[in-house]
Symmetry: D2
Subunit: 339 residues, 4 copies
């Protein structure tokens, strides 16, 4: 860590700070600059105490404390320079093929789900999405069909051959959801629900971790670290829009997360333009950008009749528009060198 001292402190104060740093197990190295004295505290920051406490202990002497090590290990490119790939049934995510995960926001009925599954399969999707347990801002909104929804997803998989991704909301449902899902989704609101991340990791299924509404890249990588540290190597990061001051869109889709995650981590990156924009009319254009920028997969909400959807109707595509989107994406998939 780098500790910057305030100007004009006494040698005695400086020694007190140095003593404390050494007491916490670091070696020290003093550099006297023109305007400030800087102390380098040498030691492994992941195993030693965080020195930010010096700010509280020596408020008159210490101006700033800056860690220099990255706090994530297993998710980082340093730990695993090549891209990771994740096997989901017969598919490989993170390889040359771009995958499209599509389906309704919520599973509502057998008819709704099967019609959607068949249509998205025909249009080229490989994975079926659909919420059985739904986190809703208000307790008075539809909370999902629960296990019945999971069974419908499994039936849709039997009928169409699509793999299934669905959200896990509660530690207590981990085994149940894992029984039906091929990929377990952790939603934005639970992105720092670490108990849930540990439970998801424990199922052994691949985990798709959405970015929290106001999660910094570093925090997102560290939340992913919980999955890998609990011995599940099959992690995908999914950008779904962050919260900003802008109100034209529900969220601001941060597409720069694609190259950033690719630089910092070896895990595949997925883009969810439906949540990102909250408006169906922007989805196609956002998908084009995501593909051009190197996303490994897309997660798109599709509904046979968006106007009658039980949740988030404004952002779901109709079956026709989804089919058209898949066609319009082709030139960009090729330009990106994907299949």
């Amino acid at each position: 860590m780098i500790i910057v001292l305030k100007p004009r402190i006494s040698r005695k104060e400086e020694h007190a700070v140095l003593r404390e740093i050494r007491k916490l197990g670091y070696a020290t190295h003093v550099m006297r600059g023109v305007a400030r004295t800087v102390i380098g505290a040498i030691g492994d920051e992941l195993t030693h105490a965080n020195l930010e406490t010096l700010l509280a202990q020596f408020p008159q002497a210490v101006e700033s404390v800056t860690p220099i090590q990255k706090r994530y290990k297993l998710v980082s490119r340093e730990a695993h320079p090549a891209n990771s790939t994740i096997r989901v049934r017969e598919h490989v995510i993170g390889g040359k093929k771009l995958h499209v995960m599509a389906g309704p926001c919520s599973v509502e009925s057998e008819d709704q789900l099967l019609r959607t599954a068949e249509a998205v399969k025909a249009a080229g999707a490989t994975i079926l999405r659909g919420g059985a347990f739904k986190p809703r801002t208000s307790p008075y909104e539809f909370q999902g069909l629960g296990e019945k929804g999971l069974k419908l997803l499994a039936k849709a998989r039997r009928v169409t051959g699509l793999a299934v991704i669905t959200e896990l909301l509660s530690e207590n449902h981990a085994a149940l959801v894992a029984e039906y899902a091929d990929i377990i989704q952790i939603g934005a609101r639970n992105a720092q629900n670490f108990q849930l991340l540990i439970a998801a990791a424990g199922t052994g299924k691949p985990v798709l971790l959405k970015r929290g509404l106001s999660m910094k890249i570093e925090e997102w990588l560290l939340a992913g670290e919980y999955v890998l540290a609990h011995e599940n190597p099959n992690l995908m990061f999914c950008e779904r829009g962050i919260r900003t001051f802008e109100t034209y869109t529900r969220n601001t889709l941060d597409l720069s997360a694609v190259p950033i995650i690719k630089r910092e981590s070896h895990c595949p990156v997925v883009i969810d333009p439906s949540q990102g924009a909250g408006r169906a009319d922007l989805v196609t254009t956002l998908c084009q950008g995501a593909v051009a920028m190197g996303a490994d997969a897309l997660l798109i909400e599709v509904h046979p009749n968006p106007a009658e959807a039980w949740s988030d109707g404004a952002q779901q595509l109709s079956l026709d528009r989804f089919a058209q989107l898949m066609k319009e994406l082709q030139p960009f998939i090729q330009a990106a060198g994907r299949k």
Copy 2:
């Protein structure tokens, strides 16, 4: 709901929109303005479908859809015009007395906890805070003492008579935490972990709900609604800073939440300046503001030796500084007409 139509659409399109609104159970009312036609959809928005789906269904005809009802009921002032008060052992929160909840970020040892408890009690605090289960950004950081920490909190209560508040992290710990705690805290990262809110409500203990890092006031009230809707009337809202672009402080403490929550809700409001600033040197001034603005209680991190704290040392006050803070608050408590 109010549906604004785009200019220059045909009567046929307008009729299609009206038909759909009526099909969803609303009565309709058309107003023709100078530049736009507006439809009023009349019906209870809490029990009818959300019409935002019209945006997806009629993208050429519908410009905007605006709900007019508030989505929260039980937490609202409309439902309960008087201030709610919450009994915690012999104390009443939300009444004339300002309460101070103080203690370490994490429970670390019997010595650390008892020294802190005795000091904060002597300085005038009525409730002891301390984390036994800690949500940590990195899996490599100290995760709390767990049940051992809860037992130490109970011991500190026996010794000092202070009531105890501690955080609940997992649905599976709800019964355990409720056995030891007088108030159950839901942290910012779990503020929209609805399963956890339901589990906390189910314990019957008072619940302190922190505001999520990027939670709008309306979402916060709706998260609180989960507690009241699950038949636990003893809810407090705790502002602890929101995430903004500013980096001088860890978070931006939104003190305007005090008068806003007081206006919208009957539940008590608590301010956490320690998390809010992330810096011990701002805590006293933030407490002065909070008290002047009408907060019912303060939640303050205090540690016998902040520099050696196992978590968040930079924001914890020493025992001496806490005692001084309590003195410096007195004139403001009186100015605010509190005790």
Copy 3:
């Protein structure tokens, strides 16, 4: 405008509100809903008083006031359904050809500028960027060469045939800058400096308006409206990143601004990935996304030796990397159906 009344107000209070609305020149239309009464105020919102004052005048009776008209006219698609194109010397911006504006952050010397101009021209750029007047966060940083810089830009134009874009910082320089520039740039910090917008409009030159750091789409369109309302039809909008909580990048490039501006306005859209990311290593990927999403032009910082740049070295590309970027963009330009 739509005025929502609070529940349980008296008829007398309702009448007082209605009287006030009519006094301000609107016709009124009352809708009685299940939970609320709603008043439609009918009249042209651009010429009548804003009714938000009702909130202050009738705090007990009025819950909310919502305008329904868009506040921008001349920049809107409603006013001009076809795309606008802007002629800049022999070029047309907003047509089929994607334009690249490239050059150094600051003009530093004849050698630096000419080397850059020749290189970016050879790689396919059509417009040369370069700052002669620089807005700098600190008064101690390099503030630009001023008129000498403008003369160097003109010389580079003579030598290479590139058109020139440069920033206007002061009303008092408007005539001077217009003498040398083909496009006048208004920077993010001045995006709501309305006097400067009026001065820029008055030069008759095309204006490129960057989005302010925390400007909502509507505010940006309204700032553009100042240019068109002052009789200059040649306006481009340039997204250059907004300010969010994320610190990995200097700003968060909001690529969804491309389809949104295309939807709301007829003016061309330009993307500046250099400012957007603040890091050279993300520029190529952001350009790929921008092109795929329909940007009309790119604005890219290029320097013969970024490490010795007098400003913003971390985000400038070397000449070689720029040439490579232009090659890597080709497949995406074709996929987007551009030249």
Copy 4:
């Protein structure tokens, strides 16, 4: 500056980085840590080149570059440990007395202004605010009375003895505004319009600098540095709310700016709760907080008839409510040890 190198780079790469740093005039100091090598670059950062360019020049070798000096000098407490006070006619801002600046958002007429001035004077205000030149989001909104407004302010000063603060919008009006105003206000939208700051400094009048909508504390201090560096020592900082995701209030008033500016700078701090909240009903409570936290002055919008104000009616107080506010503030002014 502190330069952190990437792990596993060669000695040759390290030497190239060291050579470049020395070439830019810094002495170097190498520290070899457990996971990283760190270079201290020793030299005055205000006069030497910014080393962030190393990131672009050595992308494979350099991980981060961190300045350690503060970039502001004249506004800092280090430069001037005691509080600065500013003389405005017979008043002193920044001393023991809390000042209240009150008046309408816009000057509309002699009657409106004089009625307001007399009422706020009677209630205890010492300074009259009122906009003669108004920056408006839309070109179709009222832009102020201009010089006629300035003359009315001067008349109100003659009649009441109140000092006058008004906003400067254009460099070209600097002499004109200075002729009438006792304090020159720079608005939030122009907070980084450096040419305007220089023009305001040049008038020799005290300058009140509002914080920009998304301005970091450091940027705000640096904008203030422009005023002091142009030889005008009479600067006040005015917090007026920052832009966040919250929509309940127009802005989020960051009251923690009071203790932060007091810590970092010697200049007085003013709070504007009217702009901060955008709602009259929160103004009194926000003032209580501001006073308790140590603000030197308040800037409050007051109008004889807010419902008929030509701008921002929703946030202006009536004359009666202002008088009541002044009474309700008394206990907090005393508690804060002010007059």
